[in-house]
Amino acid sequence: METLIAIRDTITVQEALDFIQSPECGGEVIFTGTVRNDTRGRGVTKLFYECYEAMALSEMQKIADQVQARWDIKKLAMLHAIGDKYPGDIAVVIAVASAHRGIAFDACEFTIDTLKETVPIWKKEFFTDGGIGQ
């Protein structure tokens, strides 16, 4: 399995698509997490993401290792943005390519679910009412 793991100020869906593109693969599943304009009914101005970068990259690699052990996935891109992000901005992209689609769905969902549980990245929410949440 080829893997692209990155944490950067700005990420794009296109770079993930470009990375996973391969004539050997018939099914690609992509998850994108974008900043919503509300959280539980409260208007959101922006999010601020920070990370413990060295450990976050290490935990992302562990997820990739688990994906490789469990499924016959050819390519996996795992990108996370940090810094100020506004509604509509992309915060995370997971892209998976495999010869067959069922396992691509499973691996993509596993990757984003596990990333949200284990990777040391934190967001702070800035609300339109002036409040700040964590």
Binding site: G33, Y49, E50, C51, Y52, A54, M55, A56, S58, H80, A91, V92, I112, L115, K116, E117, T118, V119, P120, I121, W122, K123, K124, Q134
Partner: protein, 77 residues
């Protein structure tokens, strides 16, 4: 020995890096020291400690030369 703090733990401590006393020799003692010094950390739904960039259990020893970090509940994605 220095301790890295992130997210809400950093905000509670008011610092991204604090010194920890030499009497702290493992993860359990570190958590107790944090709870004593920063009672607001007791309110967090979880408080993990990473030693050398790996999640660490309560019995793991820590000492000079280790990279130790407080990991409040993560919220990436």
């Amino acid at each position: 020995m220095g301790l890295l703090l992130f997210g809400v733990a950093k905000d509670i401590a008011g610092a991204a890096l604090v010194g920890i006393p030499e009497t702290v020799t493992n993860v359990a003692e570190l958590k107790q020291w944090l709870y004593d010094r920063y009672p607001a950390m007791q309110q967090l739904s979880s408080l993990m400690v990473a030693v050398n960039r790996e999640y660490a259990g309560d019995t793991q020893a820590i000492g000079a030369g280790d990279e130790v970090a407080v990991i409040p509940p993560v919220s990436g994605g």
